[in-house]
Every structure is written in C-alpha cells, then in structure tokens.
Symmetry: D2
Subunit: 346 residues, 4 copies
C-alpha cells in the first residue's frame, strides 16, 4: 500500500483508443507511478514501448494482479469486460479505476460497489467530464444559486464519429451527460423515457432522444447521436434567475445570460403579466486544465486518503440505473419508466 | 365572385400583432384588393387608418360578411375565436384564410373543412413557413431524393419572446414545426409523445420536448420553448446520403452536408464495418422573398382557380390532429399516443 | 420659428434610397411635423403619397424655401448637390440637416459652417452612427477610461452591396468610420495614408485600406470595400486595460474583453517580462433604439434650443478634412498626408 | 550521402518552443532518421531524452557538423543565430533546414543561397504554412483560375500570444503571410508601406498594418498583431469570378463564395451598370494532414533528389526582401518603399 509520501503505483489495462491517454497522464503525474501496461494485442504494447520504453509491458492480466508492487489498476477496456476485470482486481486487493460505464448492468455495478466497500478499496468510474473546468464552472454557478430554480436543461451531444458496432449510442455517449446531470443536480431523475432509431445497423440505436424528470419539477432532455451534420455539444440550462449555455467545443465554453422571466402580480382577476428581463451576457474565463489529469490526481488522492473521488461509485451506479430505465422505456415503445430509487448525495 | 381578371377583394379581421402584416401585404399585392379591416378595438383601426386612409374600417364583423363586395376574409384573431368567425364567413359564402392553428380542436376544424367543401369555398390555414424560401429549398432536396432515406429530424424553436398567457407553447409554436414536417415528409406521424414543464405560470406549458414517429421508420424531435438564453431555430435533417441544417436566423439558412454513413458488407460473420464519408458543405443561394407575400398570392390564386393552396386545409387538420395527440400524451404522463389516421397526400 | 411647444416643421428633400427612412421617422416623431417632401422624380413623390397622402409634395425646391411654414429642410440627395441645396436653404433662413458627407469639399463645408454661424441656424450633418446604441456604449467605455490608454483600432466595413458609380468607396463608406473615430477619440488624426484599388470601374476606388495616426500615439486602420465575400462590420479597439469588439451585424454588438498586457519591471538589464491577462468577456445589454429616430430627435432639439447636435458641423467638417487628406495621400501613391489642423472638442 | 533507399539522417538544433515538434515528426517519418538533437540547455536535452531515449544528445554543434553520419541539420533557433549556424553547416557539407525567417537580413540570406548553390546542397527555409492543406486548396483555386483576376487580398493574423521581446511583430508573424502571398501569387510585391505601433515595449512594434502592391494591379493588406481581443486568422481573397475566405482556426478553413461583380456595357454614354452576383457558398472538404509532416517529407525528398522544395530558398529570400522594404517604409514614416527586384518563379 502506498503512503502519502509515495506515488501510487498504477497499471493501465487496455491500450485501445483511450488507454494511451491514461498512460501519458499517469506517466507525467508526480503522484502516480506507471508500473505497467497490459493488453492482449502485442502491437499495441509495442507502440507504447516506443514512447515509454521503461514501462513494464504484459499480455497477462493475472501477472499484474499477482504483483504486490501494483497498488491500482486502471481498466480501459470494452464495457462487456469491466465487471470481470474489476472484480478480479478488487479480489486481488487492488484499487480500481474503470472507464464509464462502470459495468454492463446495475447488478454488476452493485456487486463491484459491495466488494470495494467490504475491502476498503477505492472503486472509481471514469466519468472524466466531472473534471472538466467548464462543467465545474456550471456546477459552481448552480450550487451557489446563481441560476435560481432550475427549470429545465436541454443537452445535445452529436458526432459524426466513432460508431461502435457492439453497443448503443445510449451506452456509449449517454454516461457523459447522465453523469454531468447527476453531478450538477445532486440527484437522479425519478422517471425517464426515450425514443431511438437504429439508422445504420439493425438493433444498434445510433440516435436517441431522452427525457428525464426530477422530483423537484426540473426536466431535462438529452439528444445523443453518432450521425450528425457537424459536431454539436450544446447544453442550455434555464433557471429562474439566469440561463447558461455550456459548449465544450467553443472557445467560450460557458456563457451566462442574465435573463429571466418575472411573473408580476395580476392586475385584475385572471390576468397574468410577464416581464422578460434581458441583461448582460458573460463568458467567464475558464481554466484550461486537462480533465484527465485532474481525474488521475483525484484517483491517486482517493486511494491515499480513502475518501470518495468526485466521480464516485455512487454516481457510476446511478448512471447505470438511469441507462437501464431508458432501456426499459425503449422496450415499452417509449413509455415513461421509473428510475430505481437512490439516495441523493448533494 | 372575382374572375381571373379582377383582384380578389379581401378584408382583414383582427389587427393585433400579426394582422397589420397581412394588411400591408394585401394592400401592395396586385392580385388582391384590401377592401376592409375589422377589429373591436377602435385604436387599432385608427392606427391602420393613418397608414391606409382609403381602406374601409369597421368594428362590425357582420357588416363585412353582409357586404357582397367582400370575396374573402383573413382571420387573424385569437385561436379561441377561429371557429366562430370562420364558420360564419363560410356560411356567408366568403372564402376564408385563418391563422394557424386553424381551429381550437380537430372537431372544429373538421366542421370547417366540411363546410368549405360543401360550399366550394377556399379554406386556407395560415401556415406561413410553407412559403419560406429555405423551407422550400429543403422540401425540394428531400423530394428529389438528395438526402436519401430520411433517418431523423431534430428541430429546436426557442425564443425569449412573447409569452401568451392563454395558451401553451405547443399550441403557439408547435404549428410551425408540425406543418413544416407535414410538408416535407408528406405524411403525419403515427405516434407522438411529449414532456413539458410549466415554468412560469401554473398550467401553461412554456417548454416542450416532443417525439414523433413515422410509419416508414423516420423519427423527429421538436423542442419548443418560450424560455431560452437566446433565440434558436435549428433543424437538422439526417438522411442516408446527405444531411441538412436549416436555420432561419442565419445568413446561410440552408447548409447541405455531403456526409453519410455506409455499412459495408461484413468481412466475416458478425462483424460490421462502417465508413463515414465527410465531403463538401454547400450553402445554396436562397431567394429573399417574404413568405407572407407568397402566401397571400397563393390565397388569391386558390380562390380564383379553386385548387388547393400549398397550405391546405388537410395540412391544417393534420397539424391539429398531432397537437391533440400531444396533449393526450401529456395527460398520460408522456406515454406515446397514436395520431388519428389521415390520408397521406404526397 | 418653432417654439418649445410646437413641433419643428421639416421638409425632406430627396426620396431615393435613404430619404424615405427620414420621411417615416419624421412622420412618426412627436417633436417634428413633416410638412413636405421634394424630389425631381414624380414617381418617387407618388410612392410617398400612397403611404403618406396628407403630406405636401413638390418638385420645386424653391417653393419649399419660400414657404414660411417650413422651419428646416433635410437634404438627402447626391453629395454633389449638398452645397448648393444647403447654402440656398441657409440663405432662406432654414435650419439644415444634410446627409453625410456634409459637402463635396472642405471649402464648401467651411462656407456652410460660416453661413450657419452667421445666421444662428442649425447645420447638422447626418452622421447617423453617432446615434447608434452600440457606438455610444463603446464611446462611454472609452470616455470612462475603462479601456485604459487606447493603443489602436482596427475597423472593417465591407459589403457586397450598393456600388455608386459616381463616387469612391472612401467618400461613400468612409464617413461612417471617420465620424465614429472622431466621436470616440474626440480628435482628428494628424496624418493619414491610404492604398486603394479600382477593381471594377476605372477611376472609381472600390476597396481602400486607410491608416490614421493620432497625436497621442494611437493608430487606426480602416478597411472599406464594396466587394467582399460577405458583409463584415468589425471594429476592434485595443486598450491597455481592456479590449472591445464592436460589430453592428451581431446580436451581441459590443463585447468587452477583460484582457491586457502588463510589462513587468525587468529582472535584469535588458530583459523584459510580459504578462498576458485573459479575463472574462462581457456582452453588455444594448438598447435597440433606431439610430435615425434619435438623430431626428437631436435635430429637432438642436433647432429648438440652439445647442450643437451630437453630430455637429465641426465633426462633419473634420470628416471632410480627413477624406481630403486621404485623397491627397492617394495622389502621392500612398505617402502619408497631414490632416489640416482642427481644434479638438472632447 | 543518403541514397533513395536510405532515410535521410537529420539532427535538430534548438529545442525551444518549436524544435520538439520537428523532433517528433522526424522521429516518426519513415524517410528520415533522427540522428541527434542539440541545444545549449541540458534541461531541454533531458526532456527530449525522456521521450526519445535512443536519440543522441549534445550541447556541441561542432560535434554534429563533424559527424559524417549527419546528412542534414534542422535549425530551430533564434533568428539572430540563423546565419552563423546555417553557414557553418553548409561549410561542413550538410543540407540545411532553417526556421523562418531564413536569416537576419537579405545580405545574409543571399550569402547562404550562394553557398548552398555552390556546394549543391539543399537550403530550405521553414515556411510551414506552404504545406498547410487549406493554403494549398486556395493555391490550387487561384492557379486554376477559379477566382478570375485577383483584385485584392485582406489578411489578419492577430493573437493574444507569445510576445517576443527581441523582435518586431513583422519579423515574427510577417513571414507567414508574406510566404503565403508569394506562394499564391507567384511573385513579390513591387512596393510596400506600413504603419506600426510599439504599444507595450519601446522600439518593439507589436501591431502592424502593411500594404503591398503588385505589378499586375493586385493589392494586399496584412494586419499583424500580438495584442488582440481574440485570435483572428482571416484572409479574404477577392477575385473577379469568385471570392474565398481562408481561416485556419475554423472547422471550415476554406469557404468559396460564388459571388462577383459584372460591369455591363454602358447603355448610354457615361453610364455604368454594375450587376452583383451572389451564388452558392461551398466549404470544400480539406484534408487534415499535419503541415509539418509534409514539410519534413519535402525536405527529405529534396535532399535525395536535388530538386527545390516547395518552401524554396528563393521564397525565403523574397520574404526577407519584403520585410526589409517594410522596415524601410517604417523608417520613412510609412512612405511606400520599393521591393528589390526578384525573378518571379511561378
């Protein structure tokens, strides 16, 4: 076990599209020591070797787990393997970072959470957007009450990009927005519904329109798509006092609109008078830190101190509960589906 | 009755926000003669008089209907009065133009259609967007097959604008997008569902997320809102061959993306290979004609020739059927609701 | 002469492209009474008559000048006629509003100013941009010192628009930016130089790049063009404390960048350390008033009170002095040319 | 000497801001072998060593030049050292790549060119933008005649970025636009003039407005600045047939406007009739290749074959001739200055 004085010794498992980014960040992080990389594909190991020749490489996951100098594993593999790899690591006494979504089902995720708790190990899902500076700027505005009551959120995340043949766009892109919503609002929706279409491949939804309803009246809509004329990452948050547009493709990723609607006291019976207020627009300066670096720092710090990371296993579990509810709604032709109750942890 | 040689003699009823625009267009149109304006409010009549002193003004609708020199009335009043005013005009043998939505219910609209048909009179709902040059440019692209199969449409129409205390955002803004969809696709959806919220006033939805499903597999999503950080009029149409973004607030209102997805024959069992194609983007030059002018010309031409206007009573009826289905879905907490069957008239 | 209680009685001379806008504004302005319109072209008079049948029309300018009920004339004709029409009106004791540029030369303008002063009449050039809300928002920021020292300004005004065969782009578009600069900075440049090209017609410059140098070290660059891929109205004002982008084609016409450069004390000889500061960006809410309306109000108020309008004859004269200096520079192949000395009237 | 079969053996000299990018590209290029890196600062060598442990490191430039296994040096140091380092390398029989500007003066550059020619060695200045895909797309459009006659170009390159205390913005940013202009038009301007201001540091111009005039009538304007509210990289090219906007910060870096101006035959004496044509706008798909990679390939290919690279020493020399003419204009308060005659090499 590492102490506060020593770097946390982490091995990265899975060197596909995203894994090398973790390798790079862990390699450069003072708090961490990259002690190994693991992949079944020798070519991928070879490519890492050219850049980081002093890092141990292996095709054997078991070898890593048996190595007492490995404190933690970072699992960056296909979703279908998350449970098996993560549970084996927890079993072996390793802390676990696992890419989102945390597991292939709520049942699997609950088992992982129970294992981590029983062993006092850190289990951290990779909801990287929770470490994005603009996401945190919006989080702080919401929590400070600057937006007033949150009326609704409208989110679009559409790419002409990677199309994963073995998944649905909801499992692929959904965790981003669902984790952001969970982080901003501090609670899960009580009910969801969705409409999707499988445009390109049978049985693989590649566009989804998801509705979410919250206990306090807030509603959210999330559009997810692998098919789009152009990349679109636009989230509007409409509150009673202010409105915000968050767009992580923009050089001004957060824009705060000092706009609102006031309902004046009716002058006479039945007559409502609305007053629209349109004020200044502010683009606050946003820090340019790489989210993955902050995420890896949070991982190391959580392992050392035992506290929950910002991207906590509860959030990872909640995201899966919402995804499963969305899948239930889809099986019932879009009828609303209740989300399994969880404790809000604002 | 007017003949092809004479201008159609039209009176405008209702001089609120939109009515004066009809007055101006009819006044300047060679095919029409503006023979009168009618409103209960003498101040509004007075304002028209300053600009058009030679046009007859009256507060009596009956007087207009009794006047044999009036060929047609253009009704630009609150929705709740459409049926009463339109049916009286048809009864009096007048052609009728009536602002969208055509009536306060499907039942009312069906009665109006029956009356117009029985008397051989033109009944035209005011779906002005069907005369918008960019809407027609997209229509032509779709009908020419340039987009391939229509996979899905995503439409946003959000304003920080007029908030109508006596209606819902669905009745206020919905007819725009629903008529455009009906015009582009040539058919009504088979099923709709919706989520709304009443943010400002009790029982008045001011934001709505509407899902529509079509018989051929296409799906559409429409976001409507009176509350938003900034005006947003964005419609993405994703087809198998090309994609289009239509935005009537942009100086380039139609952008055609030569992008698509190809599903290659699987190399071996169970393996799909997708190929994304990203090509040129074209902003076709769009004519700057005022839609309302073309709409008024279509009204006059339809009255003269007896043919259906582009904004036909069938489209007006279909729009109301979809709106009523949306309201049913809302009463059932967002469960999908079937849209009353209508004949497609591609 | 009108008193404070009576509206100022104005006649509009010249009903081409811009004149009808003055007619409309004067017609609707409580402070003014539109007492006549004058143009040599009976068709143009006829078009005005349809809209404003109660306004007197004439093809005889002399008739207007002889009419004692006319307090002021607003001259909206070609530049070449400004002097003759304005001097005749001043001679006849009428107050004069004259479109920009005020006259065809500095000499002519000086004569007009002298005549107006001698007779105690208002002479107001039509620098409408001085009444534009965003121009005034920037003016207030500069004068309040919010930008710190003004380092430089870069202005682009390019259109694919009206191409006036009898003028140069400098005489056509230049007065806009030159009057804005004069208003913002409160002084004229001491020296100017320019490069132009006559792309389409011989001897008619349709693109110009103009440099201006001010006594206090500030420099400005103005790009003017009738030929451009798209309309561009962008002015950047770079100050030591803040920077501003003003773009009157944008829904956010003024954007204030809390950015700057600090020169730290050198740590050792010859070494300079610069620190860039990048802060928030603010789009202040800008009033939507029509500039022409405020300009006409200022005209009426100046006539009544005898005070100088914001768009003063001194500013009109200074603009002409700069334009003549630009023309001198062009005749000397772009060599810098001194601007005739004027008194700054901050 | 390398043969076509062997990779070209290159050493990189200077590991400041830009050097490591050459290191990365040369390391990964099949045509090249990175045989050494050289810098006076051991820390910089150490940083390279972590990434590329197998590459030889040295603080001795002489050692590199004496090494017969080094075919070429890539000099990425401060401008003031270019001549000394490049001439020593040519003296030692090495091919030379040298960052832009090629030398500190025209005289120095002419000497280098003479040395390279005398020894039959490649001398290539690093005008990387000549390898940028959008710059080449525009080049091809111009050369194919798609724009018709080139009327004028307007270029802005403004950053709130690196501020080099030992140079002027003209020497720092100017070579980019001047090399692009030389590449697109195939010739140098005949005359230039400029206005600058030293806003932050005495005697260091940090904003410049440069005018260029070409023999065939084309004119160009270049705005260069280290001080700006936001990054701006906008080049408009206005031709008689089409217009282009090139913006390398945009996801659509090249936009082609099918717009133009036609001068119709005068109907009667002295009357000109202009017709503006506004057509479609096309954003051609642009390849995403990294310019520096193509540049390094061109370097290797030129060394092997002896042909001139696209970024030729003639272009490098011409860029310096224009910069020196700009400096002359500045010393004469902005008076136009002739550019030393060079042979056009279209």
């Amino acid at each position: 076990m590492s102490t506060a004085a020593d770097p946390v010794r982490v091995a990265v498992v899975g060197l596909g599209y995203w894994g090398p980014n973790l390798v790079r960040n862990l390699y450069e992080l003072p708090d961490a020591e990259l002690v190994g990389v693991c992949d079944l594909d020798p070519d991928r190991l070879e490519r890492i070797a050219r850049r980081y020749p002093d890092v141990r490489r292996t095709t054997s996951y078991d070898e890593l787990l048996e190595d007492p100098t490995v404190d933690a594993v970072a699992i960056v593999t296909a979703v279908g393997t998350h449970f098996e790899l993560a549970s084996a690591a927890l079993e072996a006494g390793k802390h676990v970072f696992v890419e989102k979504p945390m597991a292939g089902s709520v049942d699997e995720a609950e088992l992982l959470v129970a294992m981590a708790r029983a062993r006092g190990l850190t289990l951290m899902p990779g909801h990287t957007f929770l470490y994005s500076p603009p996401v945190n700027a919006v989080h702080d505005l919401i929590r400070a009450g600057a937006l007033g009551e949150i009326f609704f959120l409208s989110m679009s995340r559409v790419n002409l990009g990677l199309h994963q043949s073995d998944a649905s766009v909801i499992w692929d892109l959904g965790p981003h927005d669902l984790s952001i919503l969970r982080y901003w609002l501090g609670e899960s929706p009580v009910s969801v519904s969705a409409m999707t279409r499988c445009c390109v491949m049978p049985d693989v939804p590649d566009v989804a329109f998801v509705n979410l309803q919250y206990a306090d009246g807030a509603v959210a809509h999330v559009e997810l798509s692998w098919l789009a004329p152009s990349k679109l990452r636009r989230t509007a948050i409409v509150g009673s006092e202010r409105m915000v547009v968050y767009d992580d493709t923009s050089v001004e990723p957060v824009r705060v609109f000092d706009s609102g609607v006031t309902l004046r006291t009716p002058a006479n019976f039945g007559e409502f008078r609305l007053s629209y207020r349109t004020g200044d627009i502010v683009s606050p300066r946003i820090d340019g830190t790489e989210p993955l670096q902050v995420e890896m720092e949070d991982l190391c710090s959580s392992i050392r101190t035992g506290r929950e990371p910002r991207s906590s296993m509860e959030i990872g579990l909640d995201v899966l509960r919402v995804i499963e509810a969305i899948d239930r709604s889809l099986r019932e032709d879009g009828a609303p589906s209740a989300v399994e109750s969880t404790l809000a942890t604002r």
